[in-house]
Subunit: 463 residues, 4 copies
């Protein structure tokens, strides 16, 4: 889970990157980086933290000169949150440099890594991304785009990629289109981003999806755009969790408005589930707001705001007070007693992962005097790990681990619990059912995974 | 506009302060401070920034030892945002110390300051608060609470005060109760806060308001509480703007639930204003959500979420890109096109100050394809300055300056504009109409102000 | 022990202050501050640490605008090193401000403080300096210089003072001239400083001493200088320890070149003490270099460099390694084996306070193969506390506590030990013997001290 | 110009590194880093600045766990002072890691780099060091030490190397021994360092030089040490500038005491040059102290301290005041007028590079009233660039560029100038004349340099 952004032929390349990854801050809060280039030099800045923390100085941006830039915000994944892994990555090779931003996760890398290392490859990071670059420079092809194509053919897994060199900006996407990537336009500039919300902020126009299996090459000097495929066209497998939770509601992702899909999820959830005695529909703010609105419309139960989210709780918040009351949830949410007292409520959420926050939230709502809490979840139970880029916890930390629905309902302390069916989920989408990856719900993995353990383990601690 | 918090007879005095002022972060983002004391020593820490920034180290809190503590978060008011003014203030006098946290604004200070200075008073800060302490130590009375009483009798204006010494914790409130202050209980500890939301977070129980004109003295050693009045009982004049905008919706302020009052404001607004052609009610998130829900209920126009607020935009955000598009509003809000396109919408907001943000927001909504924008404001036009603690801009910066309603409607770019009447406003409150200060709307100042200029001008720059 | 600096009628007032207190960094490393003023505003910046750390930004200096400025670097004295005490102090009073920088220590303050507090004085700091300001503003005299004069008459102890107001810059010195202060000139600007080394750096010219008991008033607008006395002329009592150790060797202090006096100390020490078998004279770098050169000249024993000082050991150095070897001394000094091996050496130092560093240094020298170490000290044994501004440790921490000379020699591990006699010390000075305070050696206090405990105890901890 | 340090089989590996590179701070002030390892993990910390700045937290050191560690402090060399180049470098390869600290400079790299890149080598840094690691992992040999040997055989230039892997610590030195490296012992631990001063601080014992052309391999588990040669024995070519200026006087370098050599330089300089009319010998503190002492002894002109160095001038010092007087030299040095006034002095310095500082220093001395300044330099004129690790400025910035001796004397403003002859220089050394590289004085390069331009140009800017 990361956000990537790229732009070429722009007078404000690095500033656009800054706004682009800021708009996609929800896709990764661990670290942020921008690499820009003019015809002579490359300029890089990155750091741990939010975009606004890493780039908190106008001076920094003005030093990131050049017509072309790529940027990345990165999500914290276990064991690799060290400075050395901060993307985009940057390498020197011959008379050029190669900078790469990558959203997604490669699988079945064991053999590839072994082969590379036997041929003298040195690794600086523990990221998949570095492997891609090694494959590119070792490809026998002459032209750089052909080298990229040759490299991508050897990869399995999810990748939305932006590659910048002295001469070109390249965008590419895995043949199943597992992770999103869109192309846009602003004046003469061409832009790429994980989500369209990155375009809106700077006033760029959405053009189209980067197609699964497509490589788009833009010559930095002429601005000329060429496109070709590195793999034959097949049915895509878009990550349906992007639509359920991960993407911003005001984005266009996989050719669909996220907001539209979420309202439909809410409506389908209302159709599938009972809501006769409820007096109110509550959402878990802010991620489930749209779903809850959809649910309320369809069920004709009133939508109300019974939970207030405190937006001052940042990453730096410390919680020294040891007590049995659950402060962390309390710090994030406060209840509106006047709304909740004595009511039967429907609490709508997009999904349940561990269930711990939901459990505490229900306790909080009950303390505010609610009579009954009926939980409605806009996706099926999560039962399987994601190998393509979502950072779910290990199997046994999932609320579904060794629990049936009744157990889960009891565990979270709800009066009733309903999960949306897989059909209800897929019916809410704009594309045919077969175009989505639902592996986390169903276990149907579109790419078989042989090395279930992470190929590149990380034994380096930067302090 | 500040938040104050105090607690005595607690094993976790400074930690409770920390959570207390964190919960009231909306009342002041400029600076934060805690002063605690045990029987021997006083411990102080403060700094510029959010509570979570100033207290970003567990160690700091553990060094703020003692059974009693007071805390303050302070709003940025022009010309005095220097480190020396960070509250609470702390002075040494004889064998004790005097620490003071103050919410409110004193008026008519010219003579008092002159008299103090002629008698050798030195000032370290440019705050009202320091004047109060000078008056206290110069009072002829013997007992400290009597000194406080004598000092407060000399003051005009708004003050909710917390005073800590080696022996006691004192809470006091001006005789009109202009600013809020409540008392609570947690085990054996007594607590005071500007709003009850500060109690909820740490599980403390709301007991009652500190009465206008009341001084409550708690002996730190015995925990014994005494209460007396420094001024005879009169009709209160609560700041109605606390109910409209400033307080948190989940707080109890002036003996009323803020959330309840806001829904009522929304309903009264729906009764007063036309909404026939509207298809949607939108709120300006998050401050107007409750009002908009109230409006939607009464008008039976559907509430929907057409504006998404980006909560990653912090104080540190830089905006280097110079362009005609209005980035600042764009950074804070994004529109959901699917909701807005082709619709006639009602946009509900609590109040209009300068009107600049609202103007840009309406432009943003229009860009998303809205047909008509009908603005409904849950309070009357703001036409007069506040001398009692609200930090409105100068007269000529108000949107109402030399503009009638039509002009304002045109200026903000709305299709229609309706402000709630003063009656509609007062009808929404729990107490009798005469109990509220509405000076900013009506010009009826409950305390006549003779020195319209700030008595203590600030010529000191801390760099 | 502090350094103070002031300048008026300058286009580069704050920059000159910066260089001035930088040149006097040896007088105080705990904190540094500059306060400047133009005709309208006052500008202040201060912080904990070295001058170069507190003023590490060209921007800061350029914001300290104005024609007049005073500055201070402060030494760490036990129990009061909190931010609130960082000098110069700044107060508001009537239409002006009063900024004060003070080097020295007042004595017998108990009654003064009591009287001030009974008359309503509030204290912000635990410094002597604040008391001076309270006395000034409460003086009945009309003109400000007369108020200052009236206040200083009430004080006992050591004070070299710089006072800046909206209208004037004032320099004053206690009637015994216990602490140094000189006046200088640079173009049209008048300057004051603790030592002349502060003038050399910025190319200012030394004019004269500020006389003991003198008040010099410079009108900021006209540049007119007036001088008068607040006390009748008496025999001065200059702190002789300034000449022995504290002042910089390239300074002119108390009308004498420090370097000259130190050479003479070395010569007198050579005359008084035995050095027949010694092959080398070593100094403890850098403070004893000049003394050792003097000793070598007179004794005709060769001066050599057997100890190298590591100047990278800053205040921030951490020493985690727990071991019996004495790292701290080892970090600061390294020995040159080729010089020391097999030799009988004379080790010259200016004074012994605790003796712990010297003890470790001798051990270090012995490890380098020295045969005999003969210690020669250029001042008598320190046996009495200083009440006038030197920060010696408590009585029982002094190496002289319950030890005779033989004990001390054994304790530090020397083969022989000689202290300079009080006559040898006074003979080295330029002025008559009666003009120096030698209380720390002899116990003859020029001002009787009645309140031996610090009058203002400090119970405030800033964290 | 860098300092490197390594230790294995130690319970305090990283702490020892810390003290080791602190003692060698003079060898590089730009950046500092430590990499440590236990049997499982690698721990790395580095940053820009002094050792005490980069490691200013005891916590950091305690997180650098493990039995073995290497460390590096790096000198600022033009165009490559970016964070990515901070040493030691760390790579992952197969099941191990490779960490490398390197002092020296490789030459004639063009072909090697081209060959590596054609075989798919990606570079992360612009350092020579990375090339060494690429050669190692691509070597066909089986055992790691053999791979190292094979790689080093392909290198030309200067290198003192420390290589740490999961299994071993390896020290190696180029066949000419251009840069220093010594081996030591502390209990069961084996240590390596650029200079012996790094051993003294932690109480380690000097064992011997790492021989030119030698590879020493220590098995981390067993502590077993093996040594072999990767190149046949030849006459060494030690960098004579280490003896003249670069190494610390209390170090043992190239089998000789630096202090001894410098005294001899001073003596030879006194023999060669005229000093009849001089009354004083002054050194430029602190680097020329020992040389000046040697000169004074031999010439029988008195050594005196006429220049005081201000050791508070750190890297962070800002110099805002624009003026014709030379502040930078004035900030660093102050003159003692009493010593200098009216005298004819000999000013001894180790070498002249640009001559700008010396020029200003002479002006400063003259301002203090000196009559004649006779400059004596303890090495010949520097006329040629160093390709083996010393960072001299470009040809035309040297004071010798297009100037004969008279011109130089006039330029620096001296009354006379004498440079030590090449014979006088070589005669001062402990080893035969042929064992030293004197290329910067004579142009006799022991390794012919074909690629005079830096092979790896740096076009990456980290911001």
């Amino acid at each position: 889970m990361c956000g990537i952004f790229g732009i070429t032929n722009s007078e404000k390349a690095s500033e656009s990157c800054y706004y682009g990854i800021h708009a996609m801050q929800h896709r990764g809060q661990e670290s942020a980086g921008i690499i820009s280039a003019d015809s002579e030099m490359v300029y890089a800045h990155h750091g741990m933290g939010l975009v606004s923390e890493v780039f908190n100085n106008v001076n920094t941006l003005s030093q990131l000169k050049g017509d072309t830039a790529i940027a990345h915000n990165r999500y914290s994944t276990t064991g690799a949150s060290s400075a050395v892994n901060i993307a985009p990555l940057l390498f020197k090779h011959k008379e050029s440099f190669i900078a790469v931003a990558h959203n997604g996760n490669l699988v079945n890398l064991d053999k590839t890594i072994k082969k590379l290392e036997n041929n003298g490859a040195l690794f600086k990071t523990s990221t998949d991304t570095e492997i891609i670059v090694h494959l590119i420079v070792r490809a026998k092809e002459e032209a750089f785009p052909d080298k990229v194509s040759a490299a991508l053919k050897q990869l399995e897994g999810a990748f939305s990629l932006l590659i910048m060199t002295r001469k070109m900006l390249i965008a590419a996407r895995d043949s199943l289109g597992l992770r999103p990537m869109v192309m846009g336009k602003l004046g003469n500039s061409t832009l790429f981003a994980s989500e369209t919300c990155a375009f809106d902020l700077i006033g760029a126009e959405y053009i189209r999806e980067v197609e699964p299996g497509e490589i788009i090459v833009i010559d930095r000097e002429s601005g000329k755009l060429e496109s070709f495929r590195f793999s034959p066209k097949t049915s895509p497998k878009h990550c349906i969790f992007e639509m359920v939770y991960f993407s911003r509601p005001d984005s266009r992702v996989f050719g669909d408005n996220v907001d539209r899909a979420r309202r439909k999820l809410g409506k389908n959830l209302a159709i599938e589930s009972d809501h006769d005695h409820a007096q109110l529909v509550l959402s878990v703010p802010d991620s489930s707001n749209t779903i809850a609105i959809g649910f309320a419309r369809r069920s004709e139960v009133k939508f109300d705001i019974g939970l207030i989210r405190n937006h001052y709780v940042g990453r730096t918040f410390i919680a020294p007070l040891q007590s049995e009351r659950d402060l962390k949830v309390h710090l994030k949410f406060n209840t509106v007693k006047g709304v909740l007292e004595g009511r039967n409520v429907i609490l709508v959420d997009d999904s349940i992962v561990r269930g711990t926050t939901l459990k505490k939230l229900i306790k909080l709502i009950r303390e505010a005097g609610v009579k009954e809490v009926h939980v409605r979840i806009a996706s099926p139970p999560i039962r399987h790990p994601c190998f393509y880029g979502l950072d779910f916890p290990t199997h046994c930390e999932l609320v579904t681990y060794e629990r049936n629905l009744d157990d889960i309902c009891r565990y979270i302390g709800a009066d009733s619990l309903h999960y949306l069916s897989i059909d209800g989920l897929l019916n809410s989408m704009a594309e045919p059912k077969s175009h989505y990856c639902t592996a986390c719900f169903t276990g149907d993995y579109p790419i078989p995974v042989t090395d279930k353990e992470k190929a590149q383990d990380n034994y380096i601690n930067e302090i």
